[in-house]
Symmetry: C2
């Protein structure tokens, strides 16, 4: 798979819990992203079980320059990766003093009595003789770096927080130093407001103009957002590759200005937060069908307390009346899922919490509660601001989770447009 001009990587994720679906493999996605950022191209991920024979077979059939192995390194008895690595490299285990001191220090820092440090914990300092330990500042299982047949193999624990610490604090820099990989140029342009098919129709002519090989385009849809990723490998002239991608991106910006909300790793909630910060304005929320999810999105952004005052989750109608000032006859006449109620919720929470802006949601997330008039997925979203209130009816397809997510994204996107264009 690998061309000489690029550095390739593959990931081996070990764990029965991944195969049987009790745990989602978020590690592989995160690693793929991090590798791309340093110009190493992920070509394959394999997920396999906690089985010595299968792990050994996976180690024997690697194809990439870098092999990142996650999982199967913990204090409990179902962990066998380390012993399989010893067998693969035909080496024994050796207790690493520095790693053992680190384990002791970690236990002490958690306020645990040194006497509770069991041999099962100390044994985590036993590492294959041919490995270079890579420090794990966040846990007891050390990273293990091997050079083997011109290939770098790095084994890390499966706990995402610990694995990420090993990578960001040490291993990414070690990989960059080792391979000095060529540059991959990519830009990911983020859109909201049109689904994948309609977006593809709208930008078909532009897409045809990308040419068959020079730039690769990928549509990356998620609820409420379609990411457009432009990429090219800059094997010889990085500047020219970047200029080409930028030129195509500029054309796209001109064609769909109102749909583009950001680039790269930005999220709609980050963009809205930044808009509010820039304007020195504040936000409050009144959520019914989204049930706190919109608030969670907003507060998942570090520093959101600078612009987010708070919100009311008004699941029961009594809360809508008492906390948000919705008149009971308005609820009786229109039902809770209606334009007047959504607008009054937004205005009510904006007044009660004295914010500049407010988003309100009311709808039927399902699976029950739908009617012929208002089927599951019917959601009114309203945004109240200094110039009044706007609202929009959504008919969101999908399961309860998807309706909630799409309604929340719709509210964020409405606020984004208001903040971008209302003065």
């Amino acid at each position: 798979m690998a061309e000489k001009t690029e550095v390739t990587a593959e990931i081996i994720s070990i764990g029965d819990e991944l195969l049987i679906g009790q745990t989602i493999n978020t590690n592989a996605a995160w690693l793929g992203e991090q590798l791309g950022l340093i110009g190493i191209r992920p070509v394959r991920t394999r997920v396999i079980g906690d089985d010595k024979v299968v792990i050994m077979e996976a180690l024997r059939t690697c194809v990439a320059d870098v092999v990142l192995i996650t999982g199967g390194l913990g204090p409990t008895k179902d962990d066998i990766t380390k012993h399989t690595l010893c067998e693969f490299f035909s080496v024994g285990l050796k207790r690493d003093q520095q790693v053992e001191r680190h384990i002791e220090a970690l236990f002490a820092s958690m306020g645990r009595d040194p006497k509770t440090l069991q041999e099962v914990n100390r044994a985590q300092a036993d590492l294959p003789e041919n490995c270079t330990p890579v420090p794990n500042s966040r846990g007891t299982a050390s990273g293990m770096w091997f050079e083997h047949n011109g290939r770098i193999m790095l084994s890390m624990p499966g706990v995402p927080y610990e694995m990420k610490g090993i990578m960001t604090e040490f291993a990414l820099a070690m990989l960059r130093d080792h391979f000095k990989p060529p540059v991959i140029v990519h830009r990911t342009i983020l859109t909201a407001g049109l689904g994948e098919s309609l977006l593809a129709e709208r930008i078909a002519a532009w897409e045809d103009g990308l040419g068959p090989h020079a730039i690769k385009l990928a549509y990356l849809p998620s609820p409420g957002v379609v990411k457009l990723r432009l990429s090219t490998y800059a094997n010889t002239d990085a500047q020219a590759a970047k200029a080409l991608v930028d030129r195509k991106a500029d054309m796209l910006y001109k064609q769909i200005p109102e749909l583009i909300f950001g680039e790269g790793e930005q999220t709609l909630e980050q963009v809205v937060g930044q808009q509010l910060k820039t304007r020195n304005q504040t936000l409050a929320l009144a959520e019914s069908c989204t049930g706190g999810f919109l608030s969670h999105l907003i507060t998942s952004v570090p520093g959101s307390s600078a612009y987010y005052i708070g919100g009311v989750v008004s699941y029961a109608n009594a809360v809508k009346m008492e906390e948000l000032g919705i008149p009971s006859d308005m609820l009786d006449m229109n039902g809770a899922v209606s334009q007047p109620v959504a607008e009054r919720m937004a205005q009510g929470v904006r007044t009660a919490l004295r914010s500049d802006w407010a988003i309100a949601t009311t709808g039927i997330a399902g699976p029950d509660g739908g009617t012929p008039d208002k089927p599951v997925g019917t959601v009114w979203v309203a945004v109240a601001g200094p110039n009044g209130v706007v609202s929009r009816l959504g008919n969101f397809p999908g399961t309860r989770d998807l309706v909630i997510e799409r309604a929340a994204m719709s509210g964020l996107n409405m606020l984004r447009k208001q903040l971008a264009w209302a003065h």
Copy 2:
């Protein structure tokens, strides 16, 4: 990998977006779980890019009885799976009339003018000649079922909602009918309140009693929860295998009764919801550091409006004072992250929203805002109920997201214990 007595499966997930980490491969986890439930054992997942050569190589090197392929089937130009399947099977494409009618009907149901149905959409009805179409009620890309060299290969779109529709409505039943797979017995026992290492120490003797081969135990930790999965393959005597697993599970229940909150696919929020329903009681929330996440967990459960009244996200201190009645001198004297404030928040929202129970959270989610006295991860959680209020100080490790998640799970677990044992 496969033994004659069991049916094995592997998953091929196709998509550059998965490799470069722009999308997390939730499909593989879901498929692994569903396969397990019908007694088919997942042995491998491979994630590969949108590349004909690589897809072809993956198709050629399958090892399992069932091969589920997701991704690379959409209306946009980066989809190449279908053409690669034609090449692999040495067949051509043929337009399927029934699939074409379905695509037309789907467009009509979305209120779109038939004239907007482009050839790019109609072309989704072009399927490999040797395939049996498997209906996709949720989208335009048909599932494609192949029988090849004694193996079943099923290609599906990568959109999770559509793929899940194909599997649950048709493909799982088709697989069960085709293979009549042997039974896998497993029980997954859910615990909250102890981390993986401490839990392992506490149940070490029980674990040793499982024997070396008969029953496999896996620890599946996630923030706030450790799942213990007991499994065994019942190739000959399913009843005996089930009895053995049940006996070991009973012993575990006796040993850690207060830590076990449920089994299988249950979540803490479902268990708490069921407890409230059984008691015909209601819940309200006052969230500061969890920022709506706890409310989102509660409302992610269908039917939660039966017991969840609503909540207040009191990010700003003004909201704590005005909506929850926290005296300003209490905030001044103790700080917002303190036991008295957490307890008063819980009592305040319980009174304001007239619920039977209330959970409150106040803490420092990070990454900023920590002090030597109250570092990042310091969270007070309080539960107010008919008999008064209890509170607990947590020091949660990890990133902002993890602190939020652990604090929310801690609140749910505290309420679960109150509901289980308080009268």
